[in-house]
Amino acid sequence: MHTKTLTELSLGLRSGAFSSVELTQTFLQRISQHQDLNAYITVTEELALQQALAADVRLANGTADCLTGIPIAQKDIFCTLDVKTTCGSKMLDNFIAPYNATVVEKLNQSGAVMLGKLNMDEFAMGSSNETSYYGAVKNPWNITTVPGGSSGGSAAAVAARLAVCATGTDTGGSIRQPAALCGITGLKPTYGRVSRYGMIAYASSLDQGGPMTRSAEDAAIVLQTMAGFDAKDSTSVDLPVPDYSAGLNNSLAGLKIGLPKEFFSDGLNSDVAAVLATAIDEYRKLGAEIIDISMPNLKLAIPAYYVIAPAECSANLSRFDGVRYGYRCENPKDLTDLYTRSRGEGFGKEVKRRILMGTYALSTGYYDAYYLKAQKIRRLISDDFKNALAKVDVIMGPVTPTTAFGIGEKMDDPIEMYLSDIYTIAINLAGVPAMSIPAGFVAGMPVGLQLIGSYFAEDRLLNIAHQYQQVTDWHQQTPNGFE
């Protein structure tokens, strides 16, 4: 059962070929067999079986929708009522939210079954899932390599068939980069398309939740439930949600694909480049027109991002002070000691590094030089995307410069780690939607192709991805040992 796609499983459930309880048990068993991947922080076995039973009732009485009875998993950044939400941090090792994130609430309403909470980089800060307090997640394609991050647990779980699909969040590439490194489909929606309520903030103006699935067809179904205006999130956008599945089969004849020359320069591994070239060729066969474009400000994305994101995070993470919830140090001798030790002991190295960078960037005398300048660059980058997307329907490029790197390989060199997000970060600064889809392999490791679209054009991106997945089978490959 676990090899089937969401669409197939949904049909199976509704036809009565198997029950949600049976399906859920299959996945729970797989999770327990593959604990060595470390994809899950919390497995909610009891809750999952309860939800599966309830889903079977809905399936029987005809009130089921596409996700009813489907075993999914939540990135541990989404708050879940009565279930621990750690955000991959010691700081929240004891935290149980008294509310559901809007995304969780919506998926619950649809009747999806939650298998558990997925591992992630601490507070979503990392590109390899190695900053998690709960330990690194292993890439199912090669367990000595990283799955990417920060949604590394989500990508590994979907790739290893430990969940039918998963939620992820993407601040600088955290859905797309792990999706690429684990050979799955990941979609970062337009900023404001999916509610951020109950999604623990890293960098509020960049964070966006989205689906991580095996195919574009599956992503359309999950996004359908996740997306929409939420009165509890002032930055969510009050626009109608289109039917994401409706246009999947539209023809790509005449599609204009833009290839920014900045995406295909020196930093890109030549084997990865070759895989991408083949993928682009496939699109040409589907009737697309390839256009070379230039986005001159892309090179500024990493420095701008590493000012804005840490600045926002330095304030967002101030609430973790040991006063009301979360980790508190033992026997504080006074208030300052309570603050410094609770935060010093509760946060990991990368989180502290970003808080320090952000605090510095916002300080009197540095604000104009760093924060304000970064905001100006952000505007330039957004303009680059708007200009490019006025000429082409979709921009394509790499997701990552290389395939998955080894666990431990980049942990001592933060700059090197930051550069692994070079192709994804600009998209968050602009706020446009983007996807990563499996496009082939280099030495047995998956390579992702990135598709970038106009604001709120998720339906078009899904259509473009789905058409490729109709003529290729990269997305159907399963890592050895997880068949």
Binding site: F78, A101, S314, A315, L317, S318, R319
Partner: protein, 477 residues
């Protein structure tokens, strides 16, 4: 040397919204600790602020009342600092783009009107409270107040004395209550003041170094705290010292200010626009809607009361001190159909005295405008005398019935039957031949005796003017 005092005030007014500025939790005062705070107020992970439009409306009302520039585009910013009663580790406030820009407020000091500039007014959320007592050396945190909307009103350094500062503060206090945007309750902290105080040699252009005095919660303390601080600074300067820029706390028990933190110790608040909130856009339609609903302002009301009701300055100033009292007066005037002066006298006299004695506000008066009107109408049409009216007023205060019912029930109606009055006068004349003799021999003073006797006999129910007239007639003999 002669010194000049320069003062700027920052006044925090708690806006009278039902729910908090960024959450749906109630703002009611005095509840059990931590029962009026929701996940947003507690700063739990993942929660987000949503702006309360009512707070925006109130800020715009205030801006219009001080003829200020209303910003078409204003921005919320995060003010970062750590404190246990600040749940998020930052306060959502406004920095570069406040909602209300430059405006002004006119104050009257010793009969002279002076214009005080208002630099800006911005919206922000209040913090919670740290409770240091009753926890055996530990600190308790009450987050009920966290997220309560505040409008911080910052004046220009136009104030030149403690007296002017108090006048400004009183004027502002009156205004925000008039506008219905703040309950003005200073004990509960709904209206709080920080004062920036400096001195400079008279005639000098540039300002002296200022000290900020925090959290002064009464008019009396503002005056005392400023006077004390001015004295301290002058003494310091005259003895060759220097004022250091710092924040000082006023201790009302010891009547002194003492340092809280110096400029060097001051927080770097690292303000930046809050990415969780969109900029506030105020368009002309919104402003027009508010303008149309704007209540009459105190100054305009005063002028109108003088002109329309021909009342003396003192009555006008008492009646217009609060919008509710002014409304009460106008309702009584309209419903009773009596002269404005009669209405004003009863409201500023007997009613105000009774309310004061009972510690009640006009909004809690046991005598509705309807019932007071009923009483005044009966005075006006001579049904009862002024003296009896006081008796009826007492009864109105104690009961819920109308003046007419009380008059009927107690038989307090004036006797207008002249035959009955003449009969009583004749009886008094017959019973007091000696006094009649004296009167008739020219001792006019005895007349009061006869009036007293007649009124006593009639239990005050006769019209005194009528009695006078008839007595004179009968005594002629």
């Amino acid at each position: 040397m002669e010194w000049e005092t320069v003062i700027g005030l920052e006044i925090h007014t708690q806006l009278a919204t039902k729910s908090k500025i960024f959450s749906g939790a109630p703002t009611a005062y005095g509840a059990e600790p931590n029962t009026q705070a929701c996940a947003v107020d507690l700063g739990l992970p993942g929660v987000l602020p949503v702006l309360n439009e009512e707070a925006v409306r109130m800020a715009v009302i205030f801006g219009m009342a001080i003829e200020a520039h209303i910003a078409p585009y204003s921005v919320f910013a995060r003010k970062n600092y750590f404190y246990p009663d600040l749940p998020k580790g930052y306060q959502i406030s406004q920095m570069d783009h406040p909602i209300v820009g430059i405006g002004h407020l006119d104050i009257d000091v010793d009969g002279v009107t002076k214009r005080i500039g208002v630099t800006r007014a911005h919206l922000e959320e209040d913090a919670g409270k740290s409770l240091h007592e009753d926890f055996h050396g530990l600190t308790g945190i009450d987050l009920n107040r966290a997220g309560t909307p505040l409008l911080e009103i910052v004046s220009e350094p136009d104030i030149r004395s403690a007296k002017e500062a108090v006048a400004y503060m009183r004027k502002l206090h009156e205004l925000v209550r008039y506008l219905g945007i703040c309950d003005g309750n200073m004990q509960e902290g709904s209206f709080r003041c920080d004062a920036n105080v400096s001195v400079r040699p008279k005639g000098q252009q540039e300002f002296g170094t200022r000290a900020e005095i925090k959290n002064i919660n009464s008019f009396k303390f503002v005056e005392k705290a400023i006077n004390h601080e001015v004295e301290r600074q002058i003494e310091l300067l005259e003895s060759g010292g220097r004022v250091v820029q710092e924040t000082r706390l006023y201790d009302s028990v010891k009547d002194e200010t003492r340092p809280m933190r110096s400029k060097e110790e001051a927080n770097d608040y690292r303000y930046f626009p809050d990415p969780d909130l969109l900029p506030v856009i105020i368009d002309e339609a919104f402003k027009a809607q508010i303008k149309a609903a704007l209540p009459e302002l105190p100054q305009a009301k005063k002028l109108r009361f003088k002109a329309d009701y021909c009342l003396d300055d003192e009555s006008v100033s008492i009646l217009t001190a609060s919008r509710q009292l002014a409304d009460y007066f106008e309702a009584v005037y309209k419903k009773s159909g009596c002269e404005a002066k009669l209405c004003a006298n009863w409201i500023t006299g007997d009613l105000s005295a009774a309310l004061n004695k009972a510690g009640l506000d006009i909004t809690d008066t046991p005598i509705s405008d309807e019932r007071l009107s009923g009483l005044l109408a009966r005075i006006s049409d001579n049904t009862i005398s002024g003296k009896i009216a006081k008796q009826v007023f007492e009864a109105l205060w104690q009961s819920t019935t109308s003046a007419d019912d009380i008059i009927a029930e107690k038989g307090l109606k004036q006797i207008t039957d002249s035959g009955a009055i003449v009969a009583i006068i004749d009886k008094i004349i017959a019973d007091n031949p000696g006094q009649v003799e004296q009167y008739r021999s020219g001792k006019d003073k005895v007349f009061a005796f006869f009036v007293g006797q007649v009124m006593k006999e009639m239990q005050g129910k006769a019209n005194p003017a009528e009695v006078n007239k008839m007595l004179k007639e009968q005594l002629k003999g």
